[in-house]
Structure formats: structure tokens, C-alpha cells
């Protein structure tokens, strides 16, 4: 009973729309007559300007045709690697007559220079291949056509990741084409255990989706579950990895992200090595990482590249900023409106003075300023970069100052909101910061109703929600709850690398060890003072 109706819905896929043409052609094969083939393709794709259909003669004898989308292929490859060898008979075959039944083998084995070449006879496959940027060569008299992988799309160069910059660490970020992204991962992880499974998702976009994991390390159950969830996605278009995230997350109504995204290949590799699964989508520069726990959102890749003592303190600062951005305005409201006895007397009297001309209660005032801050922030993203930078800083200062002198808000409110906003920028993960920013508003309202008591109630609700969240079965707050000693070393502080000699156990990896503790101890024991001044040969004479 609980699953009423579900079965039915699953069984019925969404309507196929115009691709029905392909569906109709599903079982039709081409014939030996290339004119028929041309007519077929022309009928389906001929409307498009960029479709090139060029007839020629193979070895000067056989009628042939080459078909491709001219903007999706590399013309050099077409001209030199396909057309040229097909037109000129190789020297060792010259003079010989090639019968039609051997032609296919000869072309494949002796003539063509292009490596990625296969035969195909189903019409629907031909269309799909051309759409993807392939090139089709049909020779009159052959029942199969040649399909060449000639896709060449313009892509941007590999840049610094825009949202995850580091001071110390690699400077490469993912770009849109899946192939490049996979190459970026593979060159960091040259291991035979790295498995990349691909599938196509999206009924119309046919986006390629790659699932990466480490064989013999990642828990196979996890890989199975990821694949199962992915295969259930039935949507017309996947334009970014964000589409996939929204389908595979566990709780769709939670403000907290349960899937992490990154545009750093090194981060993907680090997570693969911890035992996570990464999902890449063709056309999206952001890779998804599952399962995700909350602590990942305030960790950065830099935490691990710089020395542990420094980064531990910086991580603590980041955590404080995260808490700030959530509760600071709410606490301010409750102290001003409910419990002014908590702050020192002189300050309280002064604050009362600062607020004396403000017409609104603190909660309304804070809400107004907060909302205008959010608007400003949103506007800054939309504006062209040249204008945006100026607006963000000047805008806040000018509007804040003006609001105070207009008696619209008290100076302390501006300080509080500024601190909060800055605090929310310190959280490395944009989506987590967004969640906390969103939750700030209900907390402010709770503070306006019940004061500190209300803030606490709100926080308890948020905490309980976090505690009940799960990402692929992993409790969201692990390794804090359920407590796990190994994971604690990388929770609030970032322990030295040799402390964290086990992979996080909440991911239940097949292979648990990652640092050989013994060898580190040997390293420690065997260091010598190679350049001790007393051994300095140059100084000994004097």
C-alpha cells in the first residue's frame, strides 16, 4: 500500500515527441543503394544548413558519399584522413581490381588512415552518430556504412577554477567536454583501478554521464546504488550535473545539499581515493561527489596542501564564520528586543541611543537590511564584471551609511549584517552557504517572536533535521554523529596526514588503509642533519 501508484508511473516513460521518426526507423537497415541512403538522411536531416552531403568516387571506381555536420567535425581529418585515402588507391594495390565483396576489408585494412572507424547498418544509429559529430561514408554496393569519430567541438582552455581558487595547490579546473575532464582525472590517477562507466541520460540531449570510482576501494554497493539511481532518471534534457543532483539526492525538500559538486579535478581524485563515487556530465564543468557529509562543505583542498597546524586554525575560523552567518542576526535581534540585560550596561544604554530614532522594531529592521543585502548580492552576480565589483563594495558602504543617517537603521545593525554577510562568504561551498543564508531568515523571525528561546528552538529543529538526513545511507553529520574517532581527526581540525592513516569508515571502503604509519615513523627516525655546520668542510680550515 505505501507504494501505491508508483509502479504504474515507472512503467510508463514520457512521450517520445519528434524522435518518433527515429523510433520508426529503429529496425530499418540501409540498402546497398547509396541514393536511397542519401534520400533517407536528407529527409530527416536535410533541412539543416550545416549538413554536408558530398558525393565522390572510391578509387575512382565506386560511387560513394560522405555526410557530416560541417561545424562539428574537424575538416582536416575529413580531407586528409578520409577523403584522400579513399580517392587515391594505395600504391601496393594499384592496378588490381578489387571486387565489391572485398572492398570493405580493403578500405578498412589498407586505405583508411582514421583510427576510430566502425561499420553500421541501422539507419537510426547513422542519424544518431551524425548528430553527435560523426562522419558517415557510404559506398555504393556495400550493405554497411563506415562511421568515423570526427567530432571536434570548440572548447575553452583549461582555466583556474573560478569558484574554488586556492593559494597552494593545482590551478586546473574542469571544462565542459567530458573527454577532457576524464583526461584531467586520469592523469592524476594513473591507476588500473580507476573505473569510468558511461551512460546516456536525457531523452533528447543524450548527454553522456560518466560514473567514476576506484575498483577494489569504493564499496561496490555504493556504485550499484549510484547506477541504479541514475538509470531511473527519465527527463528530456540534462544540461548540467545539477539536474542529476536533484534526481539522485535523498531528501529533495531539505535546504542542505546532499551531493557535493566541484570543478577541481584534484578534489575529485582525493574523493575517489577516499572511497566516494564521482559523476561527470558532458557539457558541465562541475563534477558531483557522493555520498556527501556536512563536514565537506567547510573543507577545502588547500587544507591538505598546506601544513596542518595552520590549516586547522583556519578551518576553525571558517567554522566560526559559518555559525556566524547562521545565528548572528538572530541573536542580535533577541538581545536587543528581549534580553538587553545580557550586554554590558554602558553598551546597552549606548545601543538604545543608537536605535532611538529608528522607526521599526529590531526584527523588521534586520529583515529589511538582510533582504536588501541579498538583493545587492544577487545583483552583483548578474551585473557585468566591470560594473559588479564597484557596486558590491561601494553599494554596501553607501547604502549602509545612508540608511544610518536617514534614521532607517542603527549603525550596529549595519555592523551585524556586514559581519554576517562576510561570514557567509567564508564558507567554501556555495550551496551550503546558500542553505545557511536561507535558514537565517526563519531564525530571525523566531528570534522576533520568542527571543533567545525561539532561536534555540529553531536551531534544535535545524540540528534535528541535519541528524535525520542521509546521503546514500551515510548519516549527514558523520563522523561527528555517529561518533567515529578516525573521522574526528579531519572534522574540526585537520590532523597531520600520517594520523589519518585510515579512510573515513562511514564510506565503508573495501580497502581501509591509506598511509603507512610505520614507514612514516621510519622516516622520522632516519632523518639526519646532512648540513650540520660542524660538518662544513669549507669552514673547517679557518
Amino acid at each position: 500500500m505505501p507504494t501505491r501508484g508508483n509502479k504504474k508511473k515507472q512503467a510508463m516513460p514520457i512521450k517520445k515527441g519528434p524522435s518518433q521518426t527515429l523510433e520508426k526507423l529503429k529496425d530499418r537497415k540501409i540498402t546497398a543503394d547509396i541514393d536511397k541512403t542519401i534520400a533517407f538522411i536528407d529527409e530527416i536531416l536535410g533541412v539543416n544548413v550545416d549538413l554536408t552531403i558530398r558525393k565522390f568516387h572510391v578509387f575512382g571506381q565506386y560511387d560513394a558519399v560522405i555526410i557530416y555536420f560541417c561545424n562539428m567535425v574537424n575538416p582536416n581529418v575529413i580531407n586528409l584522413d578520409i577523403l584522400k585515402p579513399l580517392m587515391y588507391m594505395p600504391p601496393h594495390l594499384q592496378g588490381k581490381h578489387i571486387p565489391i565483396d572485398q572492398l570493405k576489408d580493403v578500405l578498412h585494412n589498407d586505405a583508411l588512415y582514421h583510427s576510430d572507424c566502425k561499420y553500421e547498418s541501422y539507419l537510426s544509429m547513422l542519424i544518431e552518430s551524425i548528430l553527435r559529430g560523426g562522419t558517415l561514408v557510404a559506398v555504393d554496393g556495400l550493405e554497411e556504412v563506415f562511421l568515423f569519430e570526427t567530432r571536434s567541438i570548440d572548447k575553452r582552455s583549461i582555466d583556474q577554477p573560478a569558484t574554488e581558487q586556492v593559494i597552494r595547490g593545482p590551478r586546473e579546473g574542469f571544462i565542459e567536454p567530458l573527454g577532457t575532464n576524464i583526461s584531467l582525472i586520469r592523469y592524476r590517477l594513473q591507476s588500473p583501478d580507476l573505473r569510468i562507466e558511461t551512460m546516456e541520460l536525457g531523452l533528447r540531449t543524450k548527454s553522456k554521464v560518466a560514473v567514476c570510482y576506484m575498483e577494489g576501494l569504493t564499496n561496490p554497493e555504493l556504485v550499484k546504488e549510484v547506477n541504479a539511481r541514475l538509470s531511473k532518471i527519465d527527463i528530456d534534457g540534462i544540461l548540467d550535473s545539477g539536474y542529476i543532483e536533484q534526481f539522485i539526492e535523498d531528501n529533495h525538500y531539505s535546504p542542505f545539499p546532499q551531493v557535493q559538486y566541484t570543478e577541481r579535478p584534484d578534489k575529485v581524485v582525493a574523493n575517489l581515493l577516499e572511497g566516494r563515487v564521482s559523476i561527470l556530465v558532458d557539457g558541465s564543468p562541475l563534477a558531483l561527489l557522493v555520498p556527501t557529509v556536512f563536514s565537506q562543505f567547510y573543507q577545502t583542498i588547500e587544507d591538505y596542501t598546506e601544513r596542518f597546524l595552520l590549516m586547522s586554525s583556519i578551518r576553525l575560523a571558517r567554522l566560526i564564520a559559518l555559525m556566524f552567518s547562521l545565528i548572528f542576526p538572530a541573536i542580535y535581534v533577541s538581545i536587543i528586543s528581549f534580553n538587553p540585560e545580557l550586554i554590558p550596561t554602558e553598551f546597552a544604554v549606548a545601543v538604545a541611543g543608537g536605535r532611538a530614532g529608528v522607526p521599526f522594531p529590531a526584527v523588521v529592521e534586520v529583515l529589511i537590511i538582510e533582504i536588501s543585502m541579498e538583493i545587492l548580492r544577487e545583483a552583483t552576480i548578474r551585473l557585468p564584471q566591470q560594473v559588479g565589483g564597484a557596486l558590491s563594495i561601494v553599494g554596501v558602504l553607501v547604502i549602509g551609511q545612508a540608511a544610518v543617517s536617514a534614521g532607517f537603521s542603527s549603525p550596529i545593525t549595519i555592523v551585524i549584517i556586514a559581519l554576517t554577510t562576510i561570514g557567509s562568504f567564508a564558507t567554501p561551498a556555495y550551496n551550503a552557504a546558500l542553505a545557511l543564508r536561507l535558514l537565517r531568515f526563519p531564525l530571525i523571525i523566531m528570534a522576533g517572536i520568542f527571543g533567545l528561546y525561539g532561536v534555540m528552538i529553531g536551531l534544535i529543529l535545524i540540528a534535528n533535521h541535519l541528524l535525520s538526513l542521509k546521503s546514500f545511507g551515510v548519516p549527514y553529520l558523520s563522523p561527528l554523529v555517529p561518533a567515529e574517532f578516525q573521522g574526528m581527526k579531519d572534522l574540526l581540525i585537520r590532523g597531520p596526514l600520517w594520523w589519518m592513516n585510515k579512510r573515513p569508515s562511514f564510506l565503508q571502503p573495501v580497502d581501509t588503509d591509506r598511509v603507512n604509519k610505520q614507514s612514516f615513523e621510519e622516516l622520522e627516525a632516519s632523518t639526519t642533519n646532512a648540513l650540520d655546520p660542524k660538518n662544513d668542510k669549507n669552514q673547517q680550515g679557518g
Binding site: 500500500m1 501505491r4 501508484g5 536587543i336 528586543s337 528581549f338 534580553n339 538587553p340 540585560e341 550596561t345 554602558e346 546597552a348 544604554v349 549606548a350 545601543v351 538604545a352 541611543g353 543608537g354 536605535r355 532611538a356 530614532g357 529608528v358 522594531p361 529590531a362 526584527v363 549603525p411 550596529i412 522576533g448 517572536i449 520568542f450 527571543g451
Partner: protein, 412 residues
């Protein structure tokens, strides 16, 4: 299986019903600037005849709901004026320095404290807020009449902090509210810091209102309060300890006798200076106590508690009045110590005797009896009254040992 379509609607209605009450909420929201922040309160006893004329009948109507017959009080409050105290340090030349303008002092009369505050609230538009009440001054007259009502009112009010100061003023208490000392922006805070700094400099024991209440409640101890007086230039001086029997003031000590109290209790840091006359009146030196330690032992002899008080004080030599005395000899220091020890024993004993006469055991000797001789306590004392009479008969033996440790930067 048909889905019951009305279930979501019922759920939504239930949610609405729960949420709607909250929208009417913000019951307790009261902005800080809408509160009349009371920083100090003074309470004077007034004769009923004078007061009746100016009294408003707020909490009672003459005749119908009778008011209590106990004498009337005049309550004055110091309310901070928002806007007059600038935010942040200084604010250029704007801060005028005149403290009188930062607060507003108003006074009313009433039959009880609560009644008086009711009358006051009737006059003040904003709600009175006691969360920042730091100083309560009561006049000696009222203190001698009894502070039960003051204690009860402020103890019951959850806004009042236990770290506030309650003090007894010589003369009228309202003077302390209207005074405008120059050091602080807010007069009440100056009054408070006088006492807080006194603790830090070893001039006064910790005696916040909470501690006073605890002492009053204890069976083997009586409460005491700072006894203050208005000096010239609108300044405040601590002129002794006002000691109580239950909630009634029964006497006050001299200022130096505060040192006696601190010595008997062994309170640190120490900070009182005394003259020691050596051979002649000319040859005096002054010493400054730096560290006190005391040990109180109790034994029961003939059904009367006998206390032995061992007081050890470390001193620094601060000044001498003429150059005749040379302080480069340990023997001279020893003789100073001897001299002062003799004086001190007398001094401490006198102080204890003074409180014994009134039956006001501000030192808490009774607590020692209760703690260490529980059988005796149960057999002979039992109650606070019992101890009050027992205290008058108790015997005391004071032993003082003094050590001069340092003589400052001068060699002799």
C-alpha cells in the same frame, strides 16, 4: 486504492491552526529603546503625613482597598536617557561630560516598594526595565525600619541581577541619584565602580545584593551592607559597614573597621594602610597590608562557643613621617611588627565586641558552630534568634601575626 483526497487539506488546516497563534505573537518583544532602563534606585523612608498628599491612588483607593499601615517610602529612579550617551568612545567634542544630562531622575512615594513603582510606571511612558539595575541605595532610616519589603520585591523580580549593589546611605538616599560625579558618564555606574574597585583594591568585601541575601538567610550569620555618605564635589565615600539583625539595621562601623572585618575573614587582596607609632609621636611609619589570612577555630566550653581567630597579615612599609627611624635593620622591622600586632589584637577584639553588643554576627561565626559543632547547634541554638543571643555570650580570642616583607624602592 483510492487516495483520500481530504487528508492533505486536513493536514494543512491543522498546520494553519498551529501557526496562526504565533502570528499574533511577539508578546514579549520590547525594543531596547522602548524600555526605561533603570540604572539606580534610591529608597527613602518618609513620614506618612507628607507623603499622603502627593500620593496617587494607583494600587489602592483610600478607603476601599486599604493600604498597608507600615510607613511610606519615597522611591527615586535613575533612568538612562537613550541618545544622550553616545555610541562608542568619545564621539569627538560632542560628549559634554556633564553627567547630569545622561540620566533622568524621578521620584514618587508609595506604601511599599511595589506600590511606589506602580505609581512611577503611571508617570513614565516606557516600561520600567530592571535588567540593568546596578545600584540600590536605601536611607539609614528605612534600613533601621527594616528591609524585608525591599528584599522581597527585588528577589521576586526576575530581571534584577544578584550582582547589583545594595547600600545604606547616611541621610537621604535620593541625593545619590541626583549626584553628578565627574568620572563616569552615568552616575549610577560611578557609584557601582566605587564599590567594585574597592573590592579590587582590598578596601571592601564582596557584598553584592545576592551575597547580602544569602547572609541574611543564614542562621549563623547576619547581613551587612556598605554604608555610604555624600562627600563634597558630589562624591561618594564609603564610611563603614552597616550591620543588620535579620533585615533591620542595628549599627554601623567606622571606615577603618572595614579592614577589621576583612582581616577577620582573611579576604584578599588586602589594601588598608595604618599608622604605627614607634617610640614617640614623631616616629611614625605607615604600613600597607598586602595579604591576609585567617583561621577561625571553634570549641565549646561550658556550653558557650569559644572562638580562636588566627590572623596573619603581610605588610609593606609605605611611608615614614620623619627621617629619625632607619629601616635597614631587621630588628626595627620586628619591633614595628610587634607594635602593630599588639594594636591589631585590640582593634579586632573591639570590632567583634561592638557587633556582639548588637547581636549582629556579620562575620558568620555562627556558621562555624553550625558546620563544625552540629550537635551543640541542635541542642542549644537551632534558629537564627538562638544564635543572636548565643553570639552575645560567645568568647573570642584573637591572635595576630604580622610580617613586613618589603620597604619599597628606598633603601632605608
Amino acid at each position: 486504492m483510492r487516495i483520500k483526497w481530504w487528508i492533505p487539506i486536513v493536514k494543512a488546516i491543522c498546520c494553519l491552526c498551529l501557526v496562526v497563534p504565533f502570528l499574533t505573537g511577539c508578546w514579549d518583544r520590547l525594543e531596547i529603546e522602548e524600555r526605561a532602563v533603570v540604572l539606580g534606585v534610591s529608597i527613602d523612608a518618609v513620614s506618612s503625613d507628607d507623603a499622603n498628599e502627593e500620593e496617587d491612588e494607583v494600587s489602592h483607593i483610600s478607603g476601599s482597598i486599604p493600604a498597608p499601615s507600615k510607613g511610606m517610602v519615597r522611591v527615586a529612579v535613575q533612568i538612562a536617557l537613550p541618545g544622550r550617551i553616545p555610541l562608542g568612545p568619545g564621539e569627538g567634542g560632542g560628549g559634554k561630560g556633564s553627567a547630569g544630562e545622561t540620566v533622568w531622575v524621578i521620584d514618587v512615594v508609595g506604601h511599599s516598594i511595589d506600590d511606589a513603582f506602580m505609581n512611577l510606571q503611571q508617570q513614565v511612558s516606557s516600561k520600567l526595565f530592571f535588567g540593568h539595575l546596578r545600584v540600590i541605595v536605601v536611607s539609614e532610616k528605612l534600613a533601621r525600619r527594616g528591609l524585608e519589603n525591599v528584599n522581597d520585591y527585588f528577589r521576586r523580580n526576575p530581571e534584577v541581577r544578584r550582582m547589583a549593589w545594595l547600600m545604606v546611605a547616611k541621610g537621604n538616599a535620593i541625593k545619590f541619584m541626583t549626584a553628578t560625579p565627574q568620572l563616569e558618564r552615568v552616575p549610577a555606574l560611578y557609584l557601582m565602580s566605587t564599590l567594585d574597585e574597592g573590592i579590587r583594591m582590598g578596601k571592601f568585601p564582596k557584598d553584592y545584593i545576592g551575597i547580602f541575601w544569602s547572609n541574611v538567610s543564614k542562621k549563623g550569620q547576619e547581613g551587612f551592607l556598605p554604608y555610604v555618605e555624600m562627600k563634597k564635589e558630589q562624591n561618594v565615600g564609603i564610611i563603614g559597614l552597616a550591620y543588620f539583625n535579620d533585615a533591620k539595621m542595628v549599627g554601623a562601623t567606622k571606615p577603618l573597621e572595614i579592614a577589621g572585618y576583612l582581616g577577620v575573614k582573611g579576604v584578599n587582596p588586602a589594601g588598608y594602610r595604618v599608622y604605627i607609632q614607634l617610640d614617640g609621636a614623631q616616629e611614625s611609619v605607615m604600613t600597607n597590608a598586602t595579604h591576609r589570612r585567617s583561621k577561625i577555630k571553634v570549641s565549646i566550653i561550658d556550653n558557650v562557643p569559644q572562638f580562636t581567630i588566627d590572623i596573619a597579615i603581610e605588610l609593606n612599609l609605605e611611608a615614614k613621617l620623619n627621617e629619625n627611624v632607619k629601616i635597614n635593620d631587621p630588628r626595627i622591622l620586628q619591633s614595628i611588627e610587634k607594635k602593630q600586632e599588639g594594636l591589631s589584637v585590640l582593634f579586632y577584639s573591639n570590632l567583634i565586641k561592638k557587633t556582639q553588643v548588637k547581636g549582629a554576627d556579620i562575620f558568620g561565626f555562627g556558621e562555624y558552630v553550625r558546620a563544625f559543632k552540629p550537635q551543640f547547634w541542635h541542642a542549644h541554638v537551632k534558629t537564627a534568634e538562638g544564635w543572636r543571643s548565643m553570639y552575645k555570650e560567645s568568647k573570642f580570642e584573637v591572635k595576630v601575626s604580622l610580617k613586613i616583607r618589603r620597604i619599597g624602592m628606598k633603601a632605608q
